[in-house]
Symmetry: C2
Subunit: 520 residues, 2 copies
């Protein structure tokens, strides 16, 4: 790398020869590409003049992914910190799992969505896939370690080969923030706490008014049974209902009848139910419904809802939750309560441009709500699918749709024109004139060793004006200005960047004085 | 999922039929496996009795990867927090990049190690590879966004299809913690700050005595030239020198002569130099060396070392750094200063079992040092390899080998038998007798809304003894014990778990009193 120009030219010649040989002997494309890249890299060393085509690919991140710049990272870290605070307030412990799993671990868990899983290339060894969510890895972790109870949170990226809609906060690589309670407990106590957690997260993030929709898979199944859906068609009809938040009933009905072979009258009976939503009074009403009363699954689901609504009201959530029979949720593995936190449209807004949510959920394009930002439910059989003896560990959990939340907050910040600070520097150490860089290093060392966040110019003799401008641009609160005259007396100038007021401080007192100023 | 047994049996029958049809029509293995998994999943729903073979694969994480349990996460988070504190003290801003890159981005950057890159399967679209380090993605990010200066840190996992040695802290998926300074600056100012950062990180983590080895690629090249190595053999000989920390000179010499075709006398001349280490006096000595004096690259490298050592001593690092001519570092892209933080063996220890480091670095099996825990250097040409016009952005950076550090700390904790708390619960809400679960939920809600970390049993009527044992096992400092008699007076018992002392507190004063106790 520190080779002379002649050496590089010689290396280019040799490398070019190697590439020609490889091509002549019809080596693999991979091998040839590798050596061509080396050749281009060598040419690049010579600079622009000798290297017309430094690279031949578009400089980009993979489709559906993005970099996070410091500004976005600051925002994101703020959101995640608040969410973790809520999770910890409920006794959550953190775990982490590998970004990929044996392919078999994911197989058969996601129904129709399995086609969106990223597979790794078979490079001789195990066949691997990127994780699709954090729930299946949790189930694998619990079964593998024979853990029968845990309250864990997990914040990590997951991968879906979906059609990205990045301007709407939908990516192929995105964060999930999950909190789950595993263990054999009494009904609805853990479930209600998950609903409470959704409310606390949305309250603390302060991203607007919301409602938490509640439903129950057992009630959905019971309702399908009461309407006359054949049992082996339950999951397919359920996944049709799931589309109700982005499609009108007429379309969903069409899918049920034309694609899923449902009798039209049966579909109409379902249509009557799925338009219902309300609170405890709706549960009462349905418990009295002659068709549902006759189906044990429906009664059990309704009794579950009754208990859940009671606990939610003890948690102060009566005005926040809505029992909604159209809520179905896409994933196959839910077995009990399901819920979804949905942002309401701002008054006067025509609906948000963001209508799609990361975790596969869809928000309606029009109407009173603008997007699902949290969702979850109970899945009592997933861990058992991994246990060699089928031992079940009942689980209930919630996933916060943070990418959607990032998008909302990014839009808010862009609108407010407030500039977020992306570093925490407290003091900038500046030279008033030439020849002071070693003095700067001494002062910086003193500050760092005292735990103070400090930086300086990496130029030996920077201009004072440039240094002070840097402080103002980066909103650094304090600057130290070094000058020979003051240093001779063991003194430096301490400047408040905002007010531009300066005062003299002795070097010995500097760290203590800086701390005092920062606390003001 | 809430289907009855009969429904599941019917589904199993249908699914079995589907699998038979697929096999008969010789469908793809993938398709068949998928449906077999669904079949097994259905069988699993019936529980152990009906499902003898719930799964046919070993329940494990992919080779070379691991889960992090809560205990490990607590330790890890503590380490990462301390490292981030150091990075921020030096003005670092965070960025993040996708876990995979276009394959071409990585091609030609890692020399011999390229074979260790994980590729993704071609599923129709771009050809992707998992990131191998955080440096190449940074270079791609800078070139893509035309950023010419930044001080950034990045903490994320990277992927290498290496031979894992997990008991020694070497994995295929592992964390890197990188801090890099990009920009066109005056010599060695940013470089010395990176060395200071290594020292601050190792000091704050308090994992034992260490030394930071320093060398310079330009000096290495000059030294090779002075010894008579042909220029096109520099990188190969450099990568042989890199093995000196795990192999004796005799072996490295053999590799140079037998594999890399070096003349024996030339190798011996190299052998004379690479055994040298010291401080400023060694630089003086080498500047006077007749063979080196004649080679401009060697003189420039030595002058660089001279400046670096001076700045390091202004940073109070004189006793911490060692100019070491055997330090070469494996990666191709370094162009200037290189450094490595190495833990020294504990006095009386026979050498650590951990001899290998994550970032590809190797530590010696025997001798005075036990392992490299940080490394980095200057790479001035890497960003230019991505810029269409070859525009260079000089960079210098450091990577902290946190997996190695986790291993050291995990061993320390295991030896100390101290039990780390894995959650932060402050108060446990207990029932003294039956029938109090709704009261518990009310009290919990009051505490959560006041920001207090609280939990309870998810049983309606748990035994008091079991609840109190839970508090002691989990080191929860406070418990609230609810009883009808006290509740009738608007009072609860507040118990200090450690001392078992109890006192009465009114419900209204509860949050304030808890905060007071926690501050004590």
């Amino acid at each position: 790398m520190s080779d002379t120009r002649e050496q590089i030219l010689e290396q280019i010649k040799e490398q070019g020869e190697l590439v020609r040989q490889l091509k002549a002997s019809k080596e693999s494309k991979e091998k040839i590409d590798e050596e061509v890249s080396r050749l281009l890299a060598l040419k690049a060393k010579l600079g622009g003049d000798a290297a017309p085509a430094n690279q031949k690919f578009t400089l980009k991140t993979p489709k559906g992914t993005r970099d996070y710049a410091p500004q976005q990272m600051t925002l994101r870290q703020g959101v995640l910190d608040k969410i973790v605070q809520v999770f910890k307030r409920h006794g959550g412990e953190a775990i982490d799992t590998p970004v990929f799993e044996l392919k078999e671990v994911l197989t058969g868990k996601y129904g129709e969505d399995s086609k969106l899983i990223y597979d790794l290339k078979d490079q001789g060894g195990e066949i691997l896939s990127m994780r699709y969510d954090l729930t299946v890895p949790l189930a694998r972790y619990l079964a593998m370690n024979k853990i029968s109870s845990i309250k864990r949170y997990h914040i990590a990226k997951v991968y879906r080969r979906d059609n990205p809609a990045m301007t709407r906060g939908r990516y192929r690589e995105f964060y999930q923030c999950d909190f789950d309670i595993a263990g054999t407990y009494d009904p609805m106590l853990a479930d209600a706490e998950c609903v409470k957690i959704v409310a606390e997260v949305l309250d603390t993030l302060d991203i607007g008014d919301y409602v938490i929709k509640l439903n129950h898979r057992q009630l959905l199944d019971g309702m399908f049974e009461a309407c006359g859906v054949p049992p082996n068609n339950f999951r397919a009809i359920c996944s049709a209902v799931d589309k109700l938040d982005k499609s009108p009933w007429a379309e969903v009905r069409k899918e049920m009848v034309e694609e899923k072979g449902l009798d039209g009258a049966t579909a109409d009976r379902i249509g009557e139910y799925v338009r219902l939503s309300g609170g405890a009074e709706l549960v009462e009403q349905l418990l009295a419904d002659p068709k549902l009363k006759a189906v044990p699954n429906a009664v059990k689901g309704l009794e579950g809802m009754q208990l859940l609504l009671k606990y939610c009201s003890l948690f102060g959530l009566e005005q926040r939750v809505s029992f909604d029979l159209s809520l179905a949720r896409g994933l196959d593995y839910y077995t009990g309560v399901i819920y979804e936190g949905v942002l309401k449209a701002e008054p006067g807004s025509t609906g948000s441009p963001v209508k799609t949510l990361q975790n596969g959920d869809q928000a309606p394009e029009q109407g009173g709500t603008v997007g699902s930002v949290a969702g979850g439910g109970r899945y009592d059989n997933l861990v058992g699918m991994f246990d060699p003896r089928g031992k079940a560990v009942p689980c209930v959990g919630v996933s916060i749709g943070v990418e959607r939340i990032f998008s909302v907050l990014e839009a808010k910040f862009a609108a407010s024109k407030v500039k977020l600070r992306t570093n925490d520097v407290e003091v900038y150490v500046a030279s008033a004139h030439k020849g002071l860089h070693e003095q700067r290093l001494r002062v910086l060392n003193q500050l760092w060793d005292a735990g103070i966040k400090a930086e300086h110019s990496y130029k030996v003799n920077p201009k004072l004006l440039v240094q002070l401008q840097h402080c103002e641009e980066h909103q650094i609160p304090l600057a130290i200005v070094l000058g020979d005259a003051e240093l001779a007396q063991g003194i430096v100038k301490l400047r408040e960047v905002r007010t531009r007021q300066e005062s003299n401080v002795t070097l010995a007192e500097l760290p203590a004085e800086i701390r005092r100023r920062l606390q003001e």
